[in-house]
């Protein structure tokens, strides 16, 4: 079922020879020194989605023009952020085809196609968010829970292993993270009663090196946060579906963990349900847990903490500190000490009614009665959260954290009984829309602002205060990119790709891409020319300044 185009192998070798060097782990470690490339899913290990490139700037961004367009042979959502390595762009055509393109022209070198097992049942679209690379090898995690290594020059598969059973509801939609000689992935399936895990594989052989279960087993610390009188922990979800980060100085890799299952009915899983809705800090060599912080103990609102752990070094209350910035699906913006997991700040960035604040250790204080019921309970933010998996950005230049936001958005949480059946939906309820317009699913938009809206919100990490926002008439699933020239790129469901001034949110440029943007933008340069790429609709658009 797999194929690759041998006819293009020679071509790609000829084109790439002379400019292409292997992507060593050292290059990835120092990726900030080569901003012309985009070597990891989030650009580099700190996941700031901030580029040092500055040719495109506020005063000339109006001169951006489309350079090329790649139309995917897929009607699935295009959620991937491409990699660019020395002039070659690698991306994923959903669900699981890798394409290698000339980054200057968009012309294809080769396509590797993986046909997922029919048992694959990802909850929320047959999607993929991107790739990882090490040496000359690309790595792709698939919706049928396989990890596949492919030769970056030829598209030839090198190894292909099963990570988990798709018939049990396991899937993978994230881009892998390469750390040293290992490829780290996590498993989705939080709506099917999986037991989530992160695992690291030897990049050369595909052999599993370590595994960290996101629900601790009997005898492991944290297991006591699950009931002792049933086996809820075995089907408790805690999935992983967004790529984590890595701090080489601490040798810690950070990952956000998804909701516990059943999603909306916690009756059979009393307790905090670790490590669901948490961030975990793992030793990158061994997978051992160094610390964790749980954003939403005993979640019943589907508040996956599968956001991107954004790492920043900043002055914190007068002292230098290694922090982690996190706008959570639960509506709070957090600052954590990433060496220890210490809670430093938590403040709502959208309307919140399920919690009223935090105790001194950073545990949220729940509002009594704010739980799903048979009749339904209105909760802010709603089921898709104040934000979700779409990547934020932190600009060290402006000092601001930028979050794709769903504002004034709520759901009516209705609880229903559910029994675990392998591979079947294990939700235990229904989140319902609370306005006539609901979460818009039609092409046309009739919404009023009081029914909820999307926005890019700029947050001062030191206070959690919003400095500015750029409102849209529809909600957004688009990621954010910032650059050293104080530009911010993003999009939304409305079908625009646009640039804002990162300092004040002023709109500087927009382009009607004609399809919803459900991916993160990235930038690279070739022969002294800066490009910006974004997936929208079923296509990948690349822009540069008019010459």
């Amino acid at each position: 079922m797999k194929r690759f185009n041998i006819g293009r192998v020679l071509f790609v070798v000829l084109v790439a020879t002379g400019s292409y060097a292997q992507v060593s782990s050292d290059r990835i470690l120092h990726s900030a020194q080569e901003p012309q490339n985009w070597l990891t899913h989030h650009g580099n290990y700190n996941s700031q989605r901030y580029s040092m490139l500055s040719q495109i700037a506020p005063d000339n961004v109006k001169n951006l023009e489309l350079q090329w367009l790649f139309q995917a042979r897929s009607l699935e959502k295009f959620e991937a952020t491409p990699l660019v390595v020395d002039g070659i762009m690698y991306s994923v055509q959903a669900p699981n085809d890798i394409v290698a393109l000339d980054a200057a022209t968009g012309r294809p070198f080769w396509t590797y196609s993986h046909t997922p097992d029919q048992a694959a049942r990802p909850c929320c679209g047959r999607v993929n968010r991107g790739l990882a690379i090490l040496g000359d090898t690309l790595f792709m995690a698939t919706i049928d829970a396989r990890l596949i290594a492919v030769d970056a020059k030829s598209g030839r598969p090198l190894w292909d292993i099963a990570v988990a059973k798709p018939e049990s509801g396991y899937a993978m939609t994230l881009a892998p993270l390469v750390v040293k000689d290992k490829v780290i992935v996590g498993t989705a399936g939080g709506e099917y009663g999986i037991r989530g895990f992160l695992a690291a594989y030897d990049a050369k052989t595909g052999k599993e090196v370590w595994r960290f279960y996101t629900i601790p087993g009997p005898g492991d610390p944290g297991h006591e946060t699950w009931p002792a009188n049933n086996n809820a922990w075995e089907h408790g979800g805690a999935s992983v579906w967004v790529t984590g980060s890595y701090d080489p100085d601490l040798n810690l890799t950070y990952w956000g963990i998804g909701n516990p299952g059943p999603d909306w009915n916690g009756d059979e899983r009393n307790g905090d349900n670790l490590y669901s809705c948490s961030v975990v800090a793992l030793d990158a060599d061994t997978g051992k847990l160094k610390w964790y912080y749980q954003f939403s103990p005993h979640d019943e609102f589907d508040y996956d903490s599968t956001q991107v752990p954004v790492l920043a070094d900043m002055q914190w209350r007068g002292s230098p500190r290694k922090v982690m910035l996190w706008a959570n699906r639960n509506g709070y913006f957090y600052v954590l000490d990433r060496a220890t997991g210490q809670f430093l700040l938590g403040k709502p960035f959208v309307e919140v009614n399920w919690a009223s604040g935090f105790d001194e250790k950073g545990r949220p204080q729940r509002v009594p009665g704010m739980v799903p019921t048979a009749q339904g309970t209105l909760i802010l933010p709603g089921n898709q959260g104040g934000t979700n998996w779409y990547n934020p950005s932190y600009s060290p230049k402006t000092g601001l954290f930028y979050v794709p936001t769903w504002a004034n958005y709520s759901s009516l949480y209705v609880k229903q009984p559910v029994q675990y059946v392998e591979g079947r939906n294990f939700g235990g309820g229904t989140p319902r829309p609370t306005t006539p317009n609901g979460i818009r699913t039609t092409v046309n938009n009739y919404a009023r602002e009081d029914e909820g809206y999307g926005a890019i919100r700029a947050i001062d990490p030191h206070t959690g205060e919003m400095k500015w926002q750029f409102k849209m008439t529809d909600v957004t699933d688009a990621g954010v990119l910032t650059t050293a020239s104080n530009l911010l790129f993003s999009g939304g469901r409305e079908g625009y790709f646009y640039a804002l001034d990162a300092r004040d949110g002023k709109l500087l440029w927009k382009f009607p891409v004609g399809g919803r943007v459900v991916a993160g933008p990235m930038t690279f340069s070739l022969a002294g020319r800066q490009y910006v790429s974004i997936a929208a609709g079923n296509s990948l658009f690349t822009f540069a300044l008019k010459q």
């Binding site: 209105l378 009516l412 006539p436 938009n445 919404a447 009023r448 008439t473 529809d474 625009y496």
Partner: protein, 259 residues
């Protein structure tokens, strides 16, 4: 465009007033304020029809722990301890009274729909095309205006109680796809259109005056605001009970076939 030529007296609200225990007459503006307050504070739990909670079906005037308006005001402001009915201390007496006005109007409408006699589809079609002058604004098949909602398939889209309410209380619920937008261009031209689509930078409408599709850049507009009220007047005093029932029967029969 919204012209209605025949006027009949029909006191639908009086049909079942006793069952909803109204305390006094409510003004239209009171009901309107109550509708807005209900949308903000109540609809999320009680639902648009007021019937989400079976044991407290306020949409049909069923209250378990209060009867009079005064009791209901107190209940709204204090909540019911130990239940999902939370307190709303932010709702002042005036707004609480308005909510009650709206709830009682909902109950009256539901009761009126339930009390209608059997209708006749053919007679209803005749009212639709003649006496009611409904085609002045509405379209069925290839006949009628496009300025109002197209009713060609309305029988498959709306329940009888909803059809009844739309006729006697056109402002009660305007579905998002039927929302109207009032636009003032930079050069001062004013027009009203059915909102077909919008985004952060542009808006697309059907001008209800000339039935033309028009698209505007928001940067070229001085003003664009949603029209909160339906341009359709209430028929509650314009049709007899039987005529109303006939008209509803006709509308309920429209499932997309040629008419």
């Amino acid at each position: 465009m919204w012209q209605f030529r025949i006027y009949f007296a029909l006191s639908i609200l009086a049909l079942d007033a006793s069952s909803v225990l109204a305390q006094h007459e409510y003004t239209d503006s009171e009901v309107e304020v109550g509708k807005a307050q209900y949308a903000i504070n109540c609809v999320r739990c009680h639902g648009p029809e007021g019937d989400n909670i079976t044991s407290a079906d306020i949409g049909h005037g069923k209250f378990r722990r209060a009867t009079t308006d005064a009791e209901l005001v107190k209940l709204i402001q204090n909540g019911i301890p130990g239940t999902r009915m939370v307190s709303f201390p932010n709702i002042n007496d005036s707004n609480a009274q308005a909510i009650i006005a709206y709830i009682r109007s909902m109950a009256s409408t539901a009761a009126a729909a339930a009390a209608l006699p059997p209708g006749d589809v053919a007679r209803g079609k005749s009212i639709f095309e003649g006496k009611g002058a409904c085609r002045t604004c509405h379209r069925v098949g290839d006949q009628g205006s496009r300025s109002g909602p197209d009713l060609s398939q309305i029988g498959g889209q709306r329940r009888v109680v909803e059809l009844h309410r739309s006729i006697v209380e056109p402002d009660a619920e305007i579905v998002p796809a039927n929302r109207l937008l009032r636009i003032v261009t930079r050069d001062g031209a004013t027009l009203t259109g059915k909102l077909l689509n919008q985004d952060s930078f542009s808006v697309q409408i059907l001008d209800i005056k000339d039935e033309k599709l028009k698209s505007f850049s928001k940067s070229n507009l001085r003003e664009y605001t949603f029209v909160n009220n339906s341009p359709m007047p209430s028929y509650k005093d314009k049709l007899s009970t039987q005529e109303l029932s006939d008209l509803i029967s006709y509308l309920a029969s429209l499932k997309g076939q040629a008419n």
